[in-house]
């Protein structure tokens, strides 16, 4: 009985449709390009030829093959290496500043430029009228 069950389970495991290698390659590359290589200078796992990066890429592939989503794979690495491992920081907590601050600074700069140009033209006009 147990043997029959084991054979049936093994057969089911073989029959279970997996992700085709070509699709898995693309997904691995996508996820690996969002993760930082820990032993490189600003390179992603995808771009780095280092041994550790290649081994980490294998872990990405394995986890995707097991059915994890790209976000779950990224969460696994963030849980081990910290958020530093994510090339694009999550938009939470203080990280929000990274996304919002540049927009505010650009808008503030534009307002300042408009304000100054208006002021200078007024002064120039006043000077010309005298």
């Amino acid at each position: 009985m147990h043997l029959a069950l084991a054979v049936a389970m093994a057969f089911a495991a073989i029959q279970q449709p997996g992700i085709p290698d070509s699709i898995l390659d693309v997904r691995t590359a996508e996820v690996a390009s969002t993760l930082r290589c820990p032993v490189c200078q600003g390179e992603s796992l995808q771009d780095s030829p280092s041994e550790l990066a290649q081994q980490m890429k294998s872990v990405v592939r394995e986890r995707l093959r097991q059915g994890e989503t790209p976000d779950q794979v990224r969460a696994y690495f963030a849980g081990r290496y910290g958020e530093w491992i994510l090339l694009e920081p999550k938009m939470t907590g203080l990280n929000v500043l990274l996304y919002v601050l540049p927009v505010f600074l650009i808008l503030g700069g534009l307002v300042l430029i408009v304000f100054l140009v208006k002021k200078w033209t007024k002064t120039a006009d006043a000077g010309a009228a005298k």
Binding site: E51, Y81, W84
Partner: protein, 191 residues
Amino acid sequence: MNWKRATVALIAVAPVIALFAFGFTRDPRTIPSPLPGHRAPPFTLAVLSPPTGKTTPSVGDTVRLSGLEGKVVVLNFFASWCLPCRAEHAALSETALRYADKPVQFLGVLYNDEPSAGLRWISDMGGMAYPALVDRESRTAIDYGLYGVPETFIIQTDGRVAHKEVGPVTHVLLQRVLDSLLAASKPAKGS
């Protein structure tokens, strides 16, 4: 002096100066690990060499973290090509001997290295007072968020990571952390 302009300029520049000042208080090479305080990732690793002068665990046996419950585990990642690993080897081996009669288990994990090179290195260093393990494909190293070697993780008796040391460990550091963990794990008198 136009005080209004000076105040506006100061308000605009102050946050930038504050940001730089904050940046100077931090070491850019230090990357905080999320592991301390959290459950140590489980591992099952094959023994590369038993502790020098002992026969158990023997080569090919496996060591599981789950099998070390109730002990403080000092997990040190090393490699034969790593120079700082040479510097810390004496501290690790000597401390392992000093704590041999206490519930402390030292383990060395060979990282990204040939087992033969690891064995040669252990022999060149005059032996290792604790078992050396092999981490195929660096799976355990990645599970522990390793950047390089040496890195040492000290796991407390309840299975949580108490301390992570990047770079060579010293006698003083090992003793301080181990003593505090052993003291904390002792049941209170009369309880």
